[in-house]
Symmetry: C2
Subunit: 259 residues, 2 copies
């Protein structure tokens, strides 16, 4: 129950009811479980004391675990069969695989597990599976910003923004009722180039009086170095494709500015 519902607090009484155990026996068992999770680096079982307290599973990864996942990803991506004419890299099989997404989502969520985030925000389409998996780790809902307003979502706020790399004007739209005022959000996406989308989301969130607490992406490009967004957390850095050697330049991102 704890592992299936990361970051969700279960009261001790709820276990007493299910298991018909004495609380003291339960406490001893929880100590054992805590120890096992610690020894095998499976995240932490954390306790909150007091009447409203309980225990929850914190799936935070160690730096070493995140490092290993990033190296695994680089190896998976750096495969010349992925190169698509036009300088693109085929990655659907990665971003649509729940096993890989679990690992990426845990890596992206780890710095934000203690930050009391209310919503994960993403923009359609490719980042959605990643965003819902990250929302699942953080035990909070997801919000999907659309590229045009939908009849089925009621009143929406629409905004134009400039995609940083192409200098094209794009639209984003979000149902008015989707975020309450004062909400704290984490923006999650698969890819960041100049940061135009992340900047757009930040501006859109201001319209909703919501606060962007972090921007977390799987890959950011090396160029342009001067992005429209300064503080972001990226697992990998992409430095283009050597078309001659058929090599995809993808590395672990150093020097993250997690705010």
């Amino acid at each position: 129950m704890l592992v299936e519902n990361p970051n969700k607090i279960f009261t001790l009484n709820s276990f007493v009811e299910i298991l018909s155990y004495a609380k003291s026996t339960l406490s001893e068992d929880i100590d054992v479980i805590e120890e096992v999770f610690k020894n095998f680096e499976l995240g932490e079982i954390k306790s909150i004391p007091g009447a409203a307290g309980g225990i929850f599973y914190n799936p935070k990864l160690t730096d070493e675990q995140i490092e290993n996942i990033c190296n695994e990803l680089c190896e998976l991506i750096n495969d010349k069969k992925r190169i698509i004419p036009g300088g693109y890299v085929y990655m659907n099989d990665i971003f649509y695989d729940p096993n890989i997404l679990q690992k990426i989502a845990k890596s992206l969520a780890s710095p934000y597990l203690d930050k009391k985030i209310d919503y994960v925000v993403t923009i359609e389409t490719k980042g959605i599976p990643l965003a819902i998996m990250t929302a699942n780790i953080l035990n909070i809902p997801m919000i999907v910003v659309r590229k045009s307003a939908r009849l089925t979502e009621g009143t929406t706020i629409q905004m134009n923004y400039i995609a940083g790399s192409s200098r094209r004007i794009n639209t984003m739209a979000l149902a008015k009722r989707s975020i309450p005022k004062g909400a704290k959000v984490l923006f999650v996406d698969d890819f960041m180039k100049a940061g135009g989308t992340a900047k757009g989301i930040t501006d859109l969130m201001k319209e909703f009086e919501a606060e962007v607490m972090g921007i977390a992406v799987v890959m950011s490009t090396k160029e342009p170095e001067d992005k429209l967004i300064k503080d972001y957390y990226s697992l990998l850095e992409f430095d283009g494709i050597d078309e001659k050697d058929e090599k995809i330049n993808i590395y672990r991102k150093k020097n993250n500015n997690v705010n």
Copy 2:
């Protein structure tokens, strides 16, 4: 590990290595775990005998559990605040909430857990979070059919189809490399009206020489009764909104034809 990776087989040796246990002790422990899962109706721990064997977690729900989830969903949906002008019902908060999605995904996946499905297929956008959660339960990858071809996905197969209810012509596109020939797929979506999209997906899968083993949706409409697809599995039935009484007519779907 078992619960985090439903339907994934772990060899006993992998546990022997991690735990430095004797295999006999391990077998006894697995018996205990099997018993606990059974007693608390948390799904099943299943064993595969033989050299290539191991154990895995089968998160199959009982009929009663699915029934309860459906009733919970009906209660959640039947709230007049959800009514949007034009006869729509606002449901983003449901389809973007990982806790609710987990329950829906388990309900949708349950009839297909033993059917050796290779891919969950969905069409953008609203069904994607549900589809990836269902794929996670089945421990298989997801495939997202796009509404137009993308540069970043390489060669695609495009197809026109008729949305059954509006009689409009729409396009669907899928990267050629996304599904191998002979693959068995489950189509997952949030909503089905006349079944035009499901029919379109079935036709598109024929182009890929893939086989649709099932069509699973959260809600199907009562009208038209004669849909373009005969065999589908739907959790709920939607019979429109009484605008006068501000009532959303949503019920448990009876008589499912699961193929």
